[in-house]
Symmetry: C2
Subunit: 344 residues, 2 copies
């Protein structure tokens, strides 16, 4: 077999922590992928996941002690592809596999780095969605880090029209909560109310005083805040937390894009209101995997959870897809289709 | 019976949130206490508790929505006294009673506001100490809000030489932790190491970079931070928390004295390290009262918990005692002896 030509995206410089993530920090590169050696497989990528949390590795952070991604190489990103050629008995040509080798059309990797993907045909996207990382993260944030939901509670979700946020809104509704969603455009707010049946929404770009806007949307106060943003969002949420309220910190996207994310100057309310703040990532709670798969699986099969994606086509548009996470251009899960998906 | 002359301290103005709590905001006033009416009792105060948390009610806070104490009247404060005359069948002359009517020598109150105090003679102080609010608060903070202690964990305590802090250090040691204490003088640090057997101490006034000082005292990182201070203390602690560390927020004394307590600019580490921050007050956890009384009672009886007090004598010195909470003049529990204690 001859060697394979592939296009891939390299990270060429780190983003300014105070600015956006411009497409110009990336470069499209053509490479020749070698033949797989013993124990390796050649994979053609089909879907790539764009996740805002990756920004930490692409930005000159000061003093945060997080690892930066290598320059002049593709950054890591979740992807689903199909095995073209395998030199390992565990994989066969045609198998679908998950990896963290997004940002490229083809790659060779040890079979041990590839996880067979057993999703149903026609549902490839959902392995990044309801049943994948985004849905799983929303579930863990509400049920574990956030302490669970008692019917009738009020749940506030920031970045509600994003991937994780849209699942958090739906799960909270299914658990009997009144849900208030914050998003960055009137279009997203209308979408949240129409498609996800969110009870009240706030466009933070036009709301003026965000704390007051939350107070009007939830005069009863917030029991559980699902935090994706940080900064002014967090400050406004703290202002509106009920006594003994819980804050599940899933993401601080505001911090990824700004060196000077306003810190919570009203932190003293953590004491006065006996708040609980819990940072979390989904992978820390494997004891809940089975419960998640059972409950979310039921919801998906019964049509009670919807998945929404913004799909960009072609490796050359991956930088634009990624930049769109921070400009608010995307709704739901952001994906790049790197090649034809025979499953759909 | 004739009416009783009494001296009491009035709060005359609110303290500057950016300054200390000067004695000048208080005034010594002589009053005549009326005879008790039906259902009332006349009480002679003996001990008054000085608690930093009371500063919130004595300070012009902006936008915190906490209640301010009335001016030209004694602020509330925990006290123990002895009934002089009772017009209620539930109380007899000579009974010891607890109330929140500190800052005065004598007072008349409905019997329903007085709780009989059943402490042993000679242990009146401990009802504010190990078995009282301070010990109880330390216990709840470590065992409940802080998630409990696994032997071998590292516990950091701020205001470690204070009333609650000194019990937190001792309880953490009894639970098998390595304890690092932060205090405001070399004398206090030496006292912590000698009297409480704290493993390492930091004088924050001379430590320079507090974050670096904690790193040197606990290179393994902090599992549980018992927070009494806030501001730079909190920031430095967050810098040194281990993954999945817990922060129990008992007090933010730095905030009580400064409008501009530095907020935690490194809040993003709550996410990266999956930290848990839990504000609490002891009274929110009545289901643990029996457990606390049993476990702490055993420790006290076995001499494994020590109580330390700084005692000021005379109502006229109550403002000085209170101001000393914020200047660092006091070690352990701060008390004012308002009159002779027949029990000791």
């Amino acid at each position: 077999m001859s060697r394979t030509n592939s296009r891939q995206i390299h990270l060429m410089q780190y983003a300014d922590p105070n600015g956006p993530t411009p497409e110009s920090i990336f470069k499209l590169v053509e490479v020749t992928v070698p033949e797989p050696g013993p124990g390796e497989a050649l994979v053609r990528n089909i879907w790539m996941s764009c996740d805002p949390g990756a920004r930490g590795g692409m930005t000159n952070q000061k003093g945060e002690r997080i690892s930066l991604y290598a320059l002049d190489a593709p950054p890591p990103a979740g992807s689903i592809g199909q095995v073209v050629q395998s030199n390992d008995p565990s994989l066969s040509a045609g198998d679908y596999v998950r990896s963290s080798r997004g940002w490229r059309e083809y790659f060779v990797a040890p079979a041990s780095e590839l996880r067979k993907w057993s999703g149903e045909p026609g549902t490839s996207i959902s392995s990044f969605g309801a049943m994948g990382g985004a849905g799983h993260t929303a579930y863990i944030g509400l049920i574990e880090a956030g302490g669970g939901i008692t019917p009738g509670e009020t749940v506030l979700v920031s970045a509600a029209a994003g991937s994780v946020g849209s699942y958090a809104c739906q799960i909270a509704k299914l658990k009997g909560a009144r849900v208030v969603g914050i998003a960055g455009s009137d279009e997203k707010c209308a979408w949240l109310e129409k498609e996800l049946e969110v009870d009240a929404t706030i466009n933070y770009r036009t709301a003026g005083n965000l704390s007051e806007a939350i107070r009007q949307a939830a005069p009863e106060g917030i029991d559980l805040y699902f935090e994706n943003v940080g900064g002014e969002h967090l400050i406004a949420a703290i202002d509106n937390m009920k006594m003994h309220g819980r804050i599940a910190v899933c993401g601080l996207i505001d911090r990824y894009s700004k060196d000077g994310m306003p810190p919570p100057h009203n932190f003293v309310q953590v004491l006065y209101k006996r708040l609980r703040i819990q940072g979390f990532i989904q992978g820390d709670h494997p004891h809940l995997d089975a419960q998640f798969e059972a409950e979310m699986g039921d919801w998906v099969r019964q049509g009670e959870i919807k998945s929404f994606e913004t799909v960009y086509d072609g490796i050359e548009n991956a930088p634009k897809a990624y930049a769109g996470l921070f400009t608010g251009a995307n709704i739901g899960k952001t994906l790049v289709r790197l090649g034809p998906d025979p499953a759909i």
